[in-house]
Amino acid sequence: MPGRVTVRLFATARVAVGASQLRIRVDPDGVTAKSLIDSLGKHYPKLAPALRTSRFVLNERYLTRLTNKVRPGDEFAVHPPYGGG
């Protein structure tokens, strides 16, 4: 779906939103990861606490800077603290 970012939500983030995936419309030029995260927190207030403790993954790589651009077609994942084992 052009024009949109796929946001994948896991664990507490998934429960907070009630969905494991969101499709978020962004500018054709993309937005910074920070502004995407802020807007997620605004639209889903229950998600805000999880966002504060999560790591983020952009197209299967850990996000290194919040200024990185997220563009239409990208996949952006929210990873709350891990709990395997």
Partner: protein, 146 residues
Amino acid sequence: MSLRLTRRPLSVPAAMEALEGPGLGGVVLFAGRVRPDATRRGRVVALEYEAHRTLARVVLAELERKVHRRYGAERVVLWHRLGSVPVGQVSVVVGVATVHRTEAFAAARFLIDQLKARAPIWKTERVQPARRRQSRPPSPGGRGAG
């Protein structure tokens, strides 16, 4: 090298087989089993595991390479269950085979610690809510268990 993220039960004998190799005298295996922990909401009856599968495979493959380089681990098993795992069942198996035992112990310990810290896998507790205390009706004339 053997990586698995699976909804099916993990078999320790199969892990031992995957760890066979000529001259590998020391095998250390860690198995994590689901504990019936008491929580505020009740007693745990199962853990529900989910993963970011593609990324988890990348992270686990990196761990395998690392223990091969660092500890000379010739065979490695890194298996994790996904979905619902009932109390008492094995949710994770980490296994290492090396020529000597010191490296096998160190590598297995490293793998499980790193897996827990770094693999994108999560658990949710499923609990059996503590039953409300209810007065049982008096037993109708029986003396023992029905």
